[in-house]
Structure formats: structure tokens, C-alpha cells
Symmetry: C2
Subunit: 204 residues, 2 copies
Amino acid sequence: MLDKRDLNNADDSQQRYQAILESAARVICARGYDGASMQEIAEACGMTKAGLYHHIETKEKLLVAIMNYGMDLFEDQVIAKVIDIADPVERLKACMAKNIKLVTSGSSKEVTIILHEHNTLTGHSRKEMDARKKKYVRFLESTISEAIRRGQIRRVDSTLAAFAFLGSVLWTYKWFRQDGALSEEQVAAGMVDLFFRGLMPGRQ
Amino acid sequence: MLDKRDLNNADDSQQRYQAILESAARVICARGYDGASMQEIAEACGMTKAGLYHHIETKEKLLVAIMNYGMDLFEDQVIAKVIDIADPVERLKACMAKNIKLVTSGSSKEVTIILHEHNTLTGHSRKEMDARKKKYVRFLESTISEAIRRGQIRRVDSTLAAFAFLGSVLWTYKWFRQDGALSEEQVAAGMVDLFFRGLMPGRQ
């Protein structure tokens, strides 16, 4: 069994590992995966290259770790927080607001890497990342279908609506600026309003 | 003055240049800018590396030329076709449908490059590309504002609505497949329906 010191060590080591992923993500996001050298990444982490290789075996494994870290953040801060909301429309609205918040409040570098470096992955890692992304699309589709069955929204194609949802949400990584005219809250509330008004049943 | 043979030569040379940009775009899209070598690009064009350098001075100039080619296609096939539509809502709807069509029907590689390699550009080229993109955002914002002034759509933030529009449209490059369940027409019509229903004035 672990004693308290071991647990603290485990925490320290995990925090250190996350700090490496954060710094590496910053470099890869700015320079692209092929453009970023392990030397630059090590410097950004305040380490020697040998020190960095002590934590991460290869550059591709580093990329996979960053992507998985981004998906973990997303699952913790978005999916886990909304999955138990009983009303499917409220579940979707909360999901959109929280996902926008995740992108606007600093995780846009992981999002950028997940989106831009998809083709860089090969074999098993690529399949695994595809599966994690598809799980989100399926969650959106099935929640939209549930809302249609309950008569809360009109009969739209759930796949199309899921990708329109994702487009509004994920596109924010391209244009949102912390010092821009719109606050995070305004963007989240405005996107939820625009998107869900389009789904409401009505006479138009 | 040019005689007919000169004009034919000019056409041939322009067609050849466009064919180079198309092939190069395919390679850069698949491998990323840093990952794609001039050797690979030359091979994809059916040329020697020296032959390629005869047409294009540097790799960065090639990238700039591909991006400008993508923006030219967009301006010819989308903006020029809708700019004279008097009704602002009809102008926006046609613009969305035509832009989706551009992305789904084969220009997604130029779109991918314009979006992913933005940070690769430097100095003047970057400013120029930024200005071309911003012009599109301004066009959307001012058309949305015009529709609000005319009472055709409700009072939404025009910047937010412009980026929600762009998110729905440009995101299609990520998920649309020619052999998928939804046709190009279904995607275009479905996105227009979802987005514009969200803008309609009404009691909800």
C-alpha cells in the first residue's frame, strides 16, 4: 500500500507531467508538429532534451499524450458535468456552453492540436483518437434524437444538427480573443441562443 | 498586341500553373507544410524539382500561391455569385449554400491549407491573407446588420452570428464525405434551414 509520501510523489509527478504537456502543446500549437523540434520543446519545459526524453519516449508519443490530455479535459469539464441532466435540450445547451467555455478559456491549444495534427497520427493512436471523437458525435446525435422523440425540437437530421453544433462550438478556437469585444459568457450564451432557436418547433 | 497563339500559350501556362497548385495542395494537405518536401511535391506534379522551381521560387511562395488560389476560387464561386442579390437574407442563404458546395465539392484541400497553415505565413503574406479573410467576415456582418435593420431577422450580435455561420459552413471540411449518408445538397439545404430558423423573428 502507498503511504502519504508516495501519494504526494505521485501527485507531484503527475503535475510535472501535465506541465510538460501544457508547455509542449504551446510550442506545437505555434510551430506545428513537424516544425517544432524536441530541443525547442525541452527548452519551453525548462529541461534538457535528455530530461524531456526521460518523461516521453518519442515525439509521436508526446503528440498522442497531448491529444489524450485535451480529450480528458473535455470529458471531465464538459461531458461529465452534463451527462446526468435529465432533459435532453437542457443537456445539449449545457454541453454547448461548457464546451465553448473550455475552448475560450485556455484549452484552445489542445483543441488546435487535436484538430490540425489528426493526419500526423498513425495506426493504433489514430484509431483511438478517432474513437474518442466519434463518441462525442454519437452523444450529440442521440441526445438530439431523444429531444425530437420527446417533441421538444423539430424533426431535423440529427447528424447534420450535431455537426452544426460542433461547427459553432469548435470554430471559436479560430476567432475568439480574450481581449475582444465579446466576453466568454456572451459567446456561450449567444451561440446557445442562435443554435437552439433554429431547432425549436414553430410555424416558420 | 498578343496574337491568338500567344493567348493560347498564356492559357496553357495558366492551366499548367493551376495544375501545379492543385497537386501541391494535395500533398501539403496530406502531409502538412513542414512535412511535405519540394521533392514530393515535384513528383506529385510529374516534374523534377528543378522543373518545379522554374514555376515557383520558394516553398513559402508556393504556399501563398495555393492560399490565394483558394481565396480566388471562393471569391469567384461564392461572393461574385451572390453579391448582387438585393434581399440580404436571400444573399446570406445563397452565400451559405454556395460556400458549403465549394467545400464539399473538392476545394476542401485549399480550405484545409488556408485554415491550418495560417501560422506558417509571415510578414506581408500573412497580412494579405488576414485581410482577405476579414473581408468575408465584414461582408457577413454587414449583410446580417442590413437584414436586422429591415426587420427580416431578430436583433442578434452580427459578429457572433457571422462566426456561427462560418462555423457551420467551414466545419464541413472536417466531416463531409462524398460517399457518406448525406449528399452535398442535403448538407447545404439542412445547414441553411438550421441557421436561418435560428435568426427568424418569433415568439420563442
